[in-house]
């Protein structure tokens, strides 16, 4: 049946076992891709004709910023699924995303500041891109704070899901901020219509890093998801097997 996979995804014991089995298949490729991306970005890529070796911050800044948006989008979709279909596993996915997203948003802000100082002469500016990215960090922290403040998991799931869904309006604002307003931040150079504006030797390591970070996110999500699924299951018999095994 076409829908059985969806129903199986709603079954906690199935999700727990599947997550455990899949984790290494994402974690190890992530490690390899990131290692290759670092080698390519730090050693093989030629210095930029304007920014010299300073541009190499790109290889940690862009993947962190990509994570900050991709993780939030995943979290909002999972939260919406949880709200609409009252699916516990979807809420568990959303809750797993938040700390991952928050930490990479922090990394994006810090690496951005470290890139801004030598290139623009300032660590921080209340610029549309930077301000909206900072708002994203507060959204993640607000989501986590809200969850921590509500004892009952079901109520915490629903309240925080609402916040996650409403907050998703910030994602396109961040992405298009550099096009809509005058920003210090440069316009997108990879995710744009037409060809990326970068030579292949610079672009390839960036793509490796972006893919590596994405796989790392999936691996981290799968590990956290198991914990969140366990926390939502009270007296289920399958837990006995998991815990003693």
């Amino acid at each position: 049946m076409a829908w059985t996979w969806f129903h199986r995804l709603a079954s906690p014991p199935h999700v727990y076992a599947l997550a455990a089995r899949l984790t290494p298949w994402f974690a190890w490729p992530a490690a390899l891709l990131i290692a290759a991306g670092l080698w390519g970005g730090l050693v093989l890529a030629p210095p930029d004709y304007q920014q010299g070796d300073g541009f190499r911050i790109l290889y940690v800044h862009a993947p962190s910023a990509w994570m900050s948006l991709m993780v939030y989008t995943t979290m909002a979709i999972a939260a919406a699924v949880g709200l609409i279909w009252r699916m516990k596993v979807a809420h568990a996915v959303a809750a797993s995303c938040a700390p991952i997203g928050a930490s990479f948003t922090f990394a994006a802000l810090v690496t951005g500041a470290l890139w801004g100082e030598p290139m623009w002469g300032t660590y921080w500016e209340w610029d549309p891109r930077m301000t909206s990215e900072l708002v994203l960090l507060f959204l993640y922290l607000g989501y986590m704070g809200l969850r921590a403040g509500i004892e009952d998991t079901q109520r915490a799931d629903r309240a925080s899901a609402l916040l996650a869904v409403v907050g998703v309006v910030n994602v396109p604002i961040i992405h298009y901020s550099v096009t809509w307003w005058n920003s210090l931040h440069q316009a997108p150079s990879v995710m744009r219509i037409g060809k990326p504006s970068m030579p292949a030797a610079m672009l390839a390591p960036l793509l490796l890093m972006l893919l590596g970070f994405t796989l790392l996110f999936v691996a981290l999500l799968l590990v956290r998801l198991r914990g969140e699924v366990l926390a939502r299951e009270r007296a289920a018999s399958w837990i006995r097997e998991v815990v003693s095994g």
Binding site: V110, G227, I239
Partner: protein, 54 residues
């Protein structure tokens, strides 16, 4: 090798940026594993309490 670590004069910005990202990646791995271990311990404790109540 010196040139590599010097990063064309941008060492003071490039290396801290990489260090911060590395720390975030490593902490994520540690935190995720710790969160799972905590949930497992919690579930074990719950099962034990149920066993004693019976």
């Amino acid at each position: 090798m010196r040139a590599f670590f010097d990063m064309g004069g941008y060492a003071a910005f490039v290396w801290p940026a990489y260090a911060v990202t590395l720390v975030v990646v490593v902490l994520n791995i540690v935190w995720a594993r710790r969160a799972l271990a905590r949930s497992l311990a919690e579930a074990r404790r719950r099962l034990q309490m149920q066993g004693e109540a019976r």
